[in-house]
């Protein structure tokens, strides 16, 4: 029984270890530093990384060029392990919160990092990205996975003071079973968002079809189910940073010195 307990404690200590975090962060950094050198010279391989989710990229593109892309899954795995190490640290902190509450800021940053890693994994496993989808004014497009329908109601130019067209404004409506869920006027930095869906009009134009001039908009339609979780993670991280800075100055003013392991 005693042996089991000490074995369990040793494994748990390793999982929460500061040194393990440093080793994992160092390995992930070195792996990505070395691998990223290949990126600028191979845009045909690495360019589509932003156009599709990581799972699709690994299966469709990385599998064709393993010599160039091997570092991406390894670096991702190391970051995932770092996320798990961070989770163990947070659990350990929660168990000993009475003695360690002064480190709340630091552990909020840890929690935020873990949530962002989870969100990234979630979004890159079951999300999707579709760029450059032409949608005509009045056209309805069904957006998976919620079965909602998006209608492009209007496209109009937004001009600057001198009359020069600066950008296009798109009025988008989202319906579910003919019930209006949301109507948004989208433009730069103002996308349509709904339960992980994000619709961004990238460009607009006109084309003659059947003797009629029809206006279309090129849409980027992405679905990331982890986006909400990532936002929670960033909020935790942001609050953690503020709290950590406050407690840092508090510790310095009381002469608190970093612990030595």
């Amino acid at each position: 029984m005693t042996t089991n307990l000490s074995w369990y404690h040793r494994v748990w200590s390793l999982c929460c270890s500061l040194k393990l975090a440093i080793v994992l962060a160092t390995c992930a950094t070195l792996m990505a530093v070395g691998g990223s050198v290949l990126m600028p010279a191979n845009p045909q391989v690495f360019g589509p990384l932003d156009e599709m989710i990581l799972k699709d990229w690994l299966m469709e593109i990385a599998a064709q060029s393993p010599a160039l892309t091997w570092w991406v899954p390894i670096a991702s795995l190391l970051v995932l392990l770092l996320g798990l190490n961070t989770l163990c640290c947070v659990i350990d902190w929660l168990v000993h919160i009475r003695a360690r509450w002064r480190k709340s800021g630091e552990y909020l940053i840890h929690s935020g990092f873990f949530l962002i890693v989870c969100a990234f994994l979630w979004g890159n496993l079951i999300g999707y990205r579709a760029g450059g989808q032409p949608v005509f004014v009045g056209q309805a497009v069904e957006l998976p996975p919620h079965g909602v329908v998006m209608v492009l109601e209007d496209v109009r130019p937004i001009a600057a003071a001198g009359g020069r067209v600066m950008e296009m404004s798109n009025t988008l409506a989202l319906y579910h079973d003919d019930r209006l869920l949301k109507r948004v006027e989208t433009r730069a930095n103002h996308p349509l968002t709904w339960k992980g869906l994000v619709v961004i009009p990238a460009d607009a134009g006109q084309v003659r079809m059947g003797g009629q001039l029809r206006t279309y908009s090129l849409m980027t339609i992405n679905y990331d189910p982890g986006a909400g979780l990532a936002l929670v993670g960033t909020i935790a991280m942001g609050v953690g940073v503020v709290v950590a800075m406050f407690s840092f100055y508090r510790k310095r003013s009381t002469g608190d010195h970093p612990d030595i392991e």
Binding site: L18, K19, A21, I22, A25, T26, A28, T29, A32, V33, S36, M39, P40, F46, L49, D50, V79, L82, I109, F120, R129, I158, A160, M166, E167, R187, A188, N189, H190, P191, T193, V198, V199, I200, T220, I221, N222, D224, A227, A230, L231, T234, M237, G238, V241, A244, M245, F248, R252, P258, D259, I260, E261
Partner: protein
Amino acid sequence: MIELQYWLIYGAFAAYVAAVLLYLCHFRFRHDSLWRSAFAMVLLGFTLQTLCLALRWFIAGFLPITNLFNTQFFFSWCLAATYLYVELRYRIHGAGLFVMFCCLLLFASVLTRDPAIPMLIPALDTPLFTLHVTTSFAGYAFFAMAFSMGVLYLVQRWVGSSLLPELRLLRKINEESVFLGFCLFTLCLIFGGIWAYVAWGYYFSWNIKGVWSSLLWLFYGGMCHAKFVRRWQGTGYAILSIVGFALVLFTYIGIGVLLSSNHPLT
């Protein structure tokens, strides 16, 4: 207004040059009056630069941090602010001179460029952009200070000069600079991620700038942990600060100038 801008820019530059020269003289002659004058010159230069920045903000209607002139001008302002912060907090006199050299170097490069404020394109017309860029440069400025303290730590350890602050103080400032830089850079990535999501539809970009910014965050995150490990304290931490700043330089200048990225410098 344009005329006034030029006066402020050249006035600030002259004050910074005078400050660096006075600090160098202080190293040679060790007179209190010299470092006091040097510090007054930094304060004067910083005040003029702040006035210029405020004036340009007022004229443009937005914080001008869009093109190379504006980012370099703002970065040099951040470096001067970081120097003043450390000087006022720790009274290290000329020990943070490297940061002032960086500030001068950037400022000198700014003088060769057109100061006209470009029109703000709709994609950049968001507070997220302003927050992303300001926290990024503020973070970089603290990383530059950490580099400076790291180099001085190694010099002090090997040479043992009475001109430099004691090792304990250098280590303390180094750790504080890394911590503050990391906090600010974390905020930069948070604002950048949210902005990327509303602008492109994803919060992490696999563009080389995105990858290296994440690496930089991981590296300095590791450094924030390394200060608790005895083996990495002192000399090891100083070396890490130097390596970290090399990563900063590559992420900011190397990628921006040499490679094609979604954060072009030119």
